[in-house]
Symmetry: C2
Subunit: 327 residues, 2 copies
C-alpha cells in the first residue's frame, strides 16, 4: 500500500506470523507509525473467526461480591489482550439464551459463566458450538464444564458447626433462592451440620431470598419478633448479615450478646462493620484469577484442553458478630 508493499506483508509483520526481512519489516513499521495505522479488528475477526472478546454471563453486576469478581476478571483478560463483554442475565434464562446466541455470532473466544447450574440450554448450546467456557462460583457436578469454586456445602457446614460448637442449639438460615445450586448446597451443609449435632431441622427458621441487605433486614424483621427466635443465624452473604443486624437492633436485640449473626464472603465491609462480622471468607481474588487463567488456557489449547474442576479453600474469619451462648 503506502509503503509499496502488499497487504499480506503488512499482516505478516504486524502478526509476526511469517518471517519477513528486516529491511522490509522496519519500513513497514515506520509507515505504520506515521499513518497511525491500526488494523481493523472486525475484519480480522471475520477472517480468523476469533474476536479477542470474552463474554461474562452474570446475574447482575450490582453486588459487592460480583462486581469485585468481574473487576478482577476484566483486569486479567485485559492483560492478555482480551476485552470483556458484560452480560447481565438478571436470572432470566431467556436473556441468558439471547446473550449466548449473540456471543456466538460475535465469535467470542470464550465465556465465563457466573450464572447457576449447568442448565439444559447451556449444555445444549455448548454441545453445538464448542466455545471455551468455565463456570466461576458454581460447580458443575457432571464435569461437562470446567469450574472454579469453593465447596459451598462444606463452607456453610463449617459456619453452622462453628455456631453449634459455641453452644447454639437454635440456628436460623437466611439462605439464597434455592433455584441456585449454590444456595441449595449451602442449605445442605447447614442441614447436615444440624443433623450431626443431633438437632432437628425447623423449616420455619430458614428463609430463601436474594443476597442483598434489604432481604437480610426483612427476614430479620420477621424472625426476630418471634418468641421462638433462634440464638444465631447463618447468612448467605455479608450484606444479608448487615441487614439482619439492623433488624435485630430494631427489636432491641444486641449482637452478639442476644443473637449471633454470621456472614458469608468476607467483603471489605465485613471487617469495618461494628460489630465486625464473623464470616466465611471466599478467596475472591484467587477464584477470579483462576477462572480467567483456566479460560485462557482452554482458548489456547482448544482440543487438547483437559477439563478441570477446581475447588478452593474457604476460611472462617472470626470477628465480633457471634459469641458463645452463655448459661
Amino acid at each position: 500500500m503506502r509503503a509499496n508493499v502488499s497487504p499480506a506483508t503488512v499482516s505478516r509483520v504486524l502478526n509476526q506470523s511469517k518471517p519477513v526481512s528486516k529491511a522490509v519489516r522496519e519500513k513497514v513499521l515506520k509507515v505504520v507509525e506515521e499513518l497511525n495505522f491500526n488494523p481493523n479488528a472486525v475484519a480480522r475477526s471475520l477472517a480468523m473467526k476469533e474476536s479477542k472478546l470474552i463474554g461474562v454471563l452474570i446475574p447482575g453486576i450490582d453486588s459487592v461480591f460480583l462486581s469485585k469478581f468481574v473487576n478482577i476478571l476484566e483486569e486479567e483478560f485485559f492483560k492478555h489482550n482480551y476485552t470483556t463483554l458484560l452480560c447481565n442475565t438478571r436470572c432470566d434464562d431467556d436473556i441468558e439464551k439471547d446473550y449466548l446466541r449473540l456471543l456466538k455470532d460475535k465469535y467470542v473466544d470464550g465465556v465465563v459463566l457466573m450464572t447457576s447450574h449447568p442448565k439444559p440450554h447451556q449444555i445444549e448450546f455448548f454441545e453445538q458450538v464448542d466455545i471455551p467456557a468455565v463456570f466461576a462460583g458454581h460447580t458443575d457436578p457432571t464435569k461437562q464444564f470446567s469450574s472454579v469454586n469453593i465447596n459451598n456445602y462444606q463452607a456453610m457446614y463449617d459456619a453452622a458447626r462453628y455456631l453449634l460448637e459455641n453452644g447454639h442449639q437454635r440456628i436460623g438460615l437466611f439462605g439464597g433462592p434455592f433455584i441456585y445450586r449454590q444456595a441449595m448446597e449451602r442449605l445442605s451443609g447447614y442441614r447436615q451440620a444440624l443433623a450431626d449435632y443431633g438437632i432437628g431441622y425447623d423449616e420455619s427458621l430458614v428463609f430463601a431470598n436474594d443476597y442483598d441487605i434489604e432481604h437480610g433486614y426483612e427476614n430479620g424483621m420477621k424472625l426476630f419478633r418471634r418468641e421462638d427466635k433462634p440464638t444465631a443465624v447463618c447468612c448467605v452473604s455479608d450484606m444479608v448479615a448487615i441487614g439482619a443486624i439492623k433488624a435485630a437492633e430494631e427489636y432491641g436485640l444486641r449482637v452478639p450478646e442476644d443473637i449471633s449473626i454470621m456472614g458469608f464472603d468476607d467483603i471489605r465491609l465485613a471487617k469495618a462493620y461494628r460489630p465486625g462480622i464473623t464470616t466465611i471468607r471466599q478467596p475472591i481474588k484467587e477464584l477470579s484469577v483462576q477462572a480467567a487463567e483456566m479460560l485462557l488456557q482452554q482458548i489456547r489449547q482448544k482440543e487438547n484442553y483437559i477439563k478441570e474442576t477446581r475447588v478452593l479453600a474457604h476460611d472462617i474469619i472470626v470477628r465480633g458478630s457471634c459469641m458463645a451462648v452463655t448459661g
Copy 2:
C-alpha cells in the same frame, strides 16, 4: 441458498430494508426457523461499519456506586439491542488510550465515559473518529461533549452549608484525588461554603484520596487523634464516611454526639448503617438511564444530534450521622 433464494433476499427480509413479496418472505422466515439460522454479527459489522457494541470507560467497576451505574447502563443498552463492553481504565491514561483505540477498531457504536475530564487525548481521539460519546458523572465545561451529571460544586456546598447551619465551625473534608475534576469541584463547593460563612480554610483538615472505606478509615485515624480535630467532616462517598465513623469510634468518639460525619451518594447501605448516614443523594438511576438515552439518541441522529449537558438535582438526606453542635 437453502430456500432457493439469494442471500440478498434473505438479508432484505431479515432487516426489512427493502420490500419483499409476502410469499417469499414467509418462505425465507420458515427456512430460517428450521435451520435455526442466525446471521453472523461480525460479517454484518464489517459490511455496515457498526457493531451494536457500546464501550463503557470507567476507572473500575469495584465500587458500590459505579457497579450500580453500570448495571443500569447495561440493562438500558440491552433493551435496545446493544451489548456492553466493560473497559476499566484503573485511572491510567495509557490504558484509556489503548481501550479507545480498540473500541474504534471494533466499530463500537458509542461510548460512555465515566473517567474524568475531557482530557487532551480524549478530545484528540474524538476529533478524528466521530464516535458518539457521552460523559456520565462528569461534566465537560467546554461543551464539546454531551454529559449528564449532578452539580458537584453545589452538592458539596450544600453538604458543608448544612453543617455550618448546624453550628459547626471546624469542618474537615475527606475528598477524592484532585486529579479528578469531580473531586476538585467538590472541594470548591466546600471552600466556598466555608468562605460564605466567614470561616477560614485550613488545609490540614482536608484529605485527598480514594473513595473507599479504607481511605475514610485512614484519614479518620490521622485526623481524629489531633487536639484541633474538627467537629464535623464531609466525605466524598458513603464508604469513606463509614470508614471515618469506624475511625472515630476507635478513638472513643461518638457519632454524631462528638463528631458529625456526612456522606455522599446515598448508597443503600447509607440507610441501613447505624447511625444512618446523612448524605447527599445522587439520582443514580436517572443519571444512568439518561446517559444511555442520550447516547442512543446520538447514535440514531449522528450529524443532526445537538449536544446537551444535563445537570440533575441532588438532595440532602438527613439521617443520624450528623447533629447540631451543642453549647
